[in-house]
Symmetry: C2
Subunit: 267 residues, 2 copies
């Protein structure tokens, strides 16, 4: 069985190339201690005991010569937790393990990244999830090409999922602003790499790019009014916070998760 | 509290430069699920509740501006489990965490590597322990410079510690052979990266370099006669094996440990 942590993105700047292995994003992501657990099966892709059409995972399986996977997801899909990247990464390692492919880490991680880019389900989650912790992606591309810097911070985060986001439409309409603002935030973070600063920059990014809508802003402001810090998960209609649990409860059913410091792992 | 896994080396080829950050070794190491746990204290270095003079750890603490550490070691020192590297790495992260230094992973890992090289206690353990798993170090140097390839293999290994080894004398007397043979083994491993091949190459390395003495050879051959595989840990008078537990028991008190797939982590 393979576990891959879910990850959220504080801010990012996409870089698209013709070669999917060179495509990706710079930015900062955080892995958390909930994610996906994947086990091998003869054929088909099942997620939480239901058959799924899951092109990103299918791409990985086909490139490794076939097979199937049972995926257990501990976080919702389409809400900014990198579930497709985590599933693709875990599927790659589980298939390789079950079939004794002896494939190196970089080959499997790069394949999962490629599957994400080709299927337009993610640009940076697989890199973050390959490393674990607070991961600053300093250059874009697949895991074997992307330069990263990591930070191991002991912290618990709070999350409130408010719904799904149609990320493809959003990306198209504000791509230039996102690219510019994401790079600026990354520079500012590297100068002052602290959790508080990460929240501040993430919120600035969400505002400057127009990604934060009124619903999300209301929640973020309520957390701040209660003495906490919060921002919007990129890209999902999800708020992440610290010391904001009580305020979040006014808007729904939040959950907590710790920062996880290890990437993909095998059990 | 910081945990860093212990690590063994199957074979290696040292490369020494004037700059300690460029010094190191290529080769293959494996992290296991026993290691060191380090907690912050005001001053002094304690190992398993005794005061120690521990220059490698002291070097790290002084470079980070002072403090002390309580180290709990789950493996013996001087027997090839990379305990000095693990202690230095864990001390670096624990001091940085306790004092809110917000230092990036690469800075702390590079410092631990430098402490090992300067104090002549290790050349590759810190790189292996920074990544976790079966780690092929493809180029030498500190963690931020060394290129690696990883393999996540699910396996339990058996160990028999037979005593300490004076590594500095050994390294001097057979340096050229070690350098040449280590590089050859690395090439052969990358061509066929399997656990069985790793044992085979490690044993070849130990024989060709003259590092394996009669005591160790007797144990390795006993494991093989019983249908297992075994080799000598680099550098310690320690045997590592698979399916050799009963045979190892004839010579002492072996223990088992699983391959660990995560490097340094914070709790």
């Amino acid at each position: 069985m393979i576990f891959v942590p879910g990850s959220i993105t504080a801010f990012f700047s996409p870089e698209i190339h013709e070669n999917p292995l060179k495509s990706g994003s710079v930015g900062v992501g955080i892995t958390i201690d909930r994610g996906v657990r994947v086990s091998y099966r003869e054929e088909g892709i099942r997620v939480n005991e239901e058959e799924w059409n899951f092109p990103t995972v299918k791409y990985v399986i086909e490139r490794l010569g076939g097979g199937g996977v049972d995926i257990s997801m501990e976080l919702p899909v389409g809400c900014g937790f990198g579930m497709s990247g985590a599933s693709a990464l875990a599927a790659a390692f589980e298939i390789a393990s079950a079939r004794n492919l002896n494939a190196p880490f970089s080959k499997l991680a790069d394949l999962a990244h490629e599957a994400e880019v080709v299927n337009r389900t993610g640009l940076g989650d697989v890199v973050t999830q390959s490393h674990g912790g607070v991961v600053a992606r300093l250059s874009s591309g697949c895991p074997s090409l992307a330069r990263v810097e990591r930070f191991l911070w002991r912290a618990e985060l709070e999350f409130l999922v408010m719904g799904e986001l149609d990320t493809s439409t959003i990306l198209e309409s504000s791509l230039t602003r996102i690219q510019k603002e994401g790079k600026t935030c990354l520079k500012e973070f590297i100068k002052n790499p602290k959790l508080l600063n990460l929240f501040t920059l993430s919120k600035k990014f969400a505002e400057e790019t127009g990604l934060m809508d009124d619903d999300v802003r209301d929640v973020v402001e309520a957390v701040e009014a209660a003495g906490g810090i919060a921002s919007m998960v990129m890209l999902g209609k999800t708020v992440f916070a610290q010391k904001g649990l009580e305020a979040l409860k006014e808007f729904g059913e939040p959950f907590t998760a710790k920062i996880d410091h290890c990437g993909v792992r095998i059990y």
